[in-house]
Every structure is written in C-alpha cells, then in structure tokens.
C-alpha cells in the first residue's frame, strides 16, 4: 500500500477544446490545481462549468476525435517517476486507469453493467491489472463489498445490479474503484443521485476508506454542503475557469469571489432566518460565445461597467493559500 503525503497530482494549464475547428473556444481554460495525498480537493461549480470535463480529461475519457486537451498533469504514482496524465499513450493510460487512478461516476443506476454480477464488476480491476484468477478476484471483491457496508456480501456478489437499491449500487461502484487501492480517486458527483441520508453514509464511507488507504481524492460536486463535509481544499469553477481556490474553511467562511458568495448564498441554511433563497440571475454562458472581460460579469451584482467587461481578471494570489479571479476583490473585501 502506498501512503502518500506529498503531491499526488499537479495539474497545470489544463484546457479542453471541443470540436476540432481552429476557432473553437475552450470549454475548460487553463485550470491548475494540486491534489495532495490523503486529502480531498473539491471541484465546485454549476452544471456546465467544466468540472466533469476536467475529471474526464485527466483519465483521457473524452472522445479523442472530438476534443483536444492541452496542458500538463504530473501524476506521482507512489513508486517510480511521475507521469504526465495529459500526454500518455493509450496503453500506459489503460494501465493506470482502475489501478493507480480510479473514477466513480454520478449515476449508480447506469454505471453498473446490468448483465454482469456485482462480484465480477467489483473484482474486475484485479483481473485486468493484477492478473488475478476468477476465484481470487471474487474473494477480494467479497471482502471489499463488506468493507463498503454491503450486508451478506458473499450472496450479493452473485446478484445483479437490478436487485439492489441506488445507495447500494453506489457502494458497489466505490468498491470496484477502490479494490486496487488507487493513489488517486476522481469522484464525479458520486452522491448527487442519492437521497440525503444515503448521501451522508456514502460520504462517511469514502472518508473512512481515504483514511485507511491514504489516497488523494478529487471530488467533483455542485453541493456546497457536501464540500464542507468532505473536502480539505476547494476549487470553484465558473464557465471553464477557476475563479477561486483555497482551503475549505477559508473559502466557505471568507469567500472572495462574487460567484462563490452567490453560490454560498443560494444554499438553504437553518441558522439564518430568510424566507426566500438567493438565486444567481441568468445562466452559465455558452462556451462558444466570446465574453469580453470577466466571464462572470453579466451575472455579477458588483459588476462595474468599463472595468469588469473590459479587462479579463487574473487569478490573484491573496495570501499564499487562497486565490481569486476578480479585479474588485480588495474593494469588495473592504466594503
């Protein structure tokens, strides 16, 4: 088992273009972040902010013919030299997937193959990467199913996905991703499709496994409640860009970017008497529509004409741990 404490993944200037046309604008633009061993990085944003695409790009799961990925993503697999995930040939990428880097998807109802048994699907990574026999894979799969809290695991191993509930399926998905003890787990909204009680259980399960195995986790979500629950650091994305990043407490307690503030204001809270929830007016821009200046300015309540719609803001480092992409953040802070 590799118990890593240092950086597991260093992504720099990751951009994703859809469509091979020369004029196409990026869906994800120059995203940089670091994932640390034993910690969780939450990637937050609305639908269409490019957060899932970022996750898929890291594992080369985007259709190669329809997309172009640039930048670098140095991955430290525990032993051996780092590899650049964004420039890896198919064979090497296949060897990493499901072994050193695993992924969990949003929809537990459709992410499991309806015609294969749960035991087979959980043990599959071992058969692919470790050359495990059918029997070995099954034995370890049963053990893993028990660890993610599936009761009566030996019998469940022979069940099919249609026989179990959504929460159980997501546990099975987690088991199949974790069985090879990956260094990095990319979880793409793993709890979004589940109801709240099951959601909490799944988050606990993930946290427990992370502590036991010391893996790094990239947790993609739009749910700030979940972020507070599980993350160590947060990356807020808007229209394909990082607009704010920092440690979870800092970002949630002192959000600097107007978008992060708006997101937080739109979360229902019990400790604040309020009758209506704040919604963010408008919607996320079409990536192919060029926007002058700050990409959030059409929806921003603090937008200043002649400033925000002219100059594109940089990602400013505030104090070495938090950064924000807004030209007005010092003023807003003072106000």
């Amino acid at each position: 088992m590799t118990f890593q404490t240092g950086n597991v993944l260093e992504v720099e200037n990751l951009s994703v273009y859809f469509g091979r046309l020369p004029g196409s604008l990026p869906v994800v633009r120059e995203v940089s972040f670091t994932a640390v061993g034993g910690q969780t990085l939450a990637v937050v944003g609305e639908s269409g902010s490019g957060k899932s695409v970022t996750g898929l790009a890291l594992l080369s799961l985007l259709n190669r013919g329809l997309s172009k990925v640039t930048g670098s993503g140095n991955f430290y697999p525990g032993s051996g030299p780092p590899v650049d995930l964004l420039h890896l040939d198919t064979r090497k990428m296949r060897a990493l997937r499901g072994d050193r880097v695993a992924m969990i998807f949003q929809e537990p109802m459709t992410s499991l193959n309806p015609s294969l048994t749960l035991g087979y699907q959980v043990g599959e990574a071992l058969r692919i990467h470790r050359g495990a026999s059918r029997r070995q894979a099954r034995a370890e799969a049963i053990e893993m199913l028990e660890r993610v809290g599936i009761p009566d695991a030996p019998r469940r191993a022979d069940s099919y996905p249609h026989e179990i509930s959504g929460g159980m399926r997501q546990r099975v998905m987690i088991a199949s991703a974790m069985i090879s003890r990956p260094t990095l787990l990319i979880a793409d909204e793993p709890t979004t499709a589940l109801d709240v009680t099951i959601q909490a259980q799944i988050l606990d399960e993930l946290k427990k496994l992370q502590e036991e195995m010391g893996m790094s986790m990239i947790f993609i979500t739009h749910d700030l409640g979940v972020v507070a629950e599980i993350a160590h650091a947060v990356l807020v994305m808007y229209a394909g860009q990082v607009v704010e990043q920092g440690p979870v407490r800092r970002v949630l307690e002192r959000p600097r970017h107007p978008y992060t503030r708006a997101l937080l204001a739109s979360v229902p809270r019990l400790d604040r008497p309020k009758t209506t929830l704040a919604a963010i007016a408008g919607r996320i821009p079409d990536p192919q529509q060029p926007i002058a200046g700050c990409r959030f300015h059409p929806r921003c309540p603090y937008c200043v004409r002649g400033l925000c719609d002219v100059r594109e803001p940089e990602l400013d480092d505030i104090d070495g741990i938090q950064s924000v992409r807004c030209v007005r953040w010092p003023e807003l802070e003072a106000a």
Binding site: R97, S111, I128
Partner: protein, 292 residues
C-alpha cells in the same frame, strides 16, 4: 452500519436475467408450440438411424412411386426409396446446415459488428460499406455464386449460407453496439482500465446477446429455406444423401405423385415456422424491462 439493513432488498436467491427470461418463456404459448415442433424435428433427425423404418438409400424396384401405405407410411420416390426414412435422414443434413450456417453468421457477424461499433470512425465506415455491398446481392444468387466457386457439398453449403447471413447480423450488432457504447457502464469499464476487446466481449456483448440469439432463431428460418432452395437447384449436398430441398426438387418431375413433394414441403414449412415461433417466444421473454 445498522441503517444499511433497510436498504437490502427482500431476501431471495439471486436470479439471473436468463432465469427470469426462461420463466417468462414458459408462459408463451406460441413459443412453446414452436419449441415442441423444433424438438420433434431435431429428435427425428438425430434419431433417424433408430426410428427410420428403412435404409434411406435402399431401393425397392417393386414399389416405385407407390403412394402412402402401411408398408411405406409416406410412400416411395421415383426409384422406390422409402420417403419417411429419407425425410428423417434428410432432416439431419438440412438442420446441420442450418445450425452450422447460423453459427458462422452469428459469430462472424457479431465480431464484425462489435468491432465496427466500438472502434467507430474510418474502420466502421469501411466495414459497414463492405457489409452493405454484400447485402446488395440477392441472397440466393450470392449463395449460389459461393457454392458454384467452392463446389457443392455439405461444408460449402454451410459456409455459403453462413456468409450470406453475416451482413445482417453485423448490421444488427453494430447498431446495438452504437447505443450500448454510449452507456455509462461502458465508460466506467474504460475507467477501470478495460481494453477494447474486453469492453467488446465482456461488457457490450452480454447486453446484446439476447437480441442476437432471437435474431438467429428468426434467421434460421430463412437459412432453412435458402438451404432447400440451393438443394432444389441442385447445388446443395450431392445425391444420394437426401436433403429436404433435394427431395422437393425431385418432386417437380413427378406431379402425379403428390406425396413426394408434399411431405418434404411440410417438413420445411413446419420447421421454419417453429424457428419463427421460438424466436418470437425468446424475444417476448426477454423484452420485459428488467434492466434499469
């Protein structure tokens, strides 16, 4: 972990989807009738040496073209061979050719269709244009051409009928593959590091196997007719080995002896019909939406 117990579904033995389908098939009347006819045809062919009253090639000059009687239940043909015995033995050849041909078409068509569907792009274009090209030939003419080149015998008849049926299977499998390929579980398998062949055969194939089997049953019907047509045209298995189609073609020369034609015709008709019924039965049994 106590709360998880609530999530567990009712305690029962896990039932495979195949088990569920078998259960539903048992309630499909037409499917059962088809299966019964099919089993009779297969049993007759397999047990021909045991149940046939005469040697199918034994000639009785004393009773040429004799109508059905107690000696010869279905009558005799133009050189005095027992029609019932020839029908039973003929079933062996006809059914063997159908089974072989459909197996060839199923395996080749599935591999081709999966490859085209999963790889997509240029490879898909090339493969499917070739398949379309093959489909453009009238099936019987195409089979005739293959047999004419390879020579008429049992193996070649099998190959010819197999080849002409392959494009249809390839097209079916490719179409289904295209839609299954987009399912999340295929992406999940890719994320687990599964190779392309593994995704094709382990993850996509089981989802479409049922449809392919149904299609095979339906195609078996047309394969039987193609086989009979080939034999009828004298390009099947060479005499004296009997096949149903061959017997039918002989009958053409003796319109006064109705039994020579009617019985092989009925055998072809009922067997083909049984394949159709069984295919329908399997399709309906698998159609109920159990996979979510």
């Amino acid at each position: 972990m106590t709360s998880i117990v609530q999530e567990t579904s009712a305690r029962r033995r896990p039932i495979s989807q195949l088990g569920l389908a078998a259960r539903r098939f048992r309630q499909h009347t037409l499917g059962k009738i088809g299966l019964a006819i099919m089993l009779v045809a297969i049993a007759g062919a397999v047990m021909a040496p045991l149940v046939a009253p005469y040697n199918p090639e034994a000639i009785d000059y004393a009773s040429i073209l004799s109508p059905p009687s107690s000696t010869y239940l279905l009558g005799t043909d133009e050189i005095g061979r027992d029609l019932l015995s020839r029908l039973l033995y003929g079933g062996q050849v006809s059914l063997a050719i159908v089974a072989g041909a459909i197996s060839i078409a199923l395996v080749a068509g599935s591999v081709i269709g999966l490859t085209a569907g999963v790889l997509g792009g240029r490879i898909d274009d090339v493969i499917m244009r070739v398949m379309d090209g093959l489909l453009a030939f009238p099936m019987l003419i195409f089979a005739l051409a293959i047999v004419a080149v390879l020579g008429p015998n049992l193996a070649n008849a099998m190959i010819a009928i197999g080849v002409v049926n392959t494009p249809e299977f390839a097209r079916l499998v490719r179409g289904q593959t295209l839609s299954i390929r987009e399912q999340e579980f295929v992406q999940a398998a890719t994320a687990l590091g599964a190779s392309v062949p593994r995704i094709m055969f382990k993850h996509i194939w089981p989802s479409l196997a049922g449809n392919v089997v149904v299609y095979a049953a339906l195609r078996a019907c047309s394969a039987l007719i193609t086989e009979s047509s080939l034999a009828f045209l004298g390009l099947g298995v060479s005499p004296p080995t009997p096949t149903w189609g061959q017997m039918l073609s002989t009958a053409l020369q003796y319109p006064e002896a109705w039994w020579i034609g009617v019985f092989p015709g009925l055998a072809i008709f009922f067997t083909a019909l049984s394949f159709n019924f069984v295919g329908d039965g399997i399709r309906d049994a698998m159609d109920a939406k159990i996979n979510t």
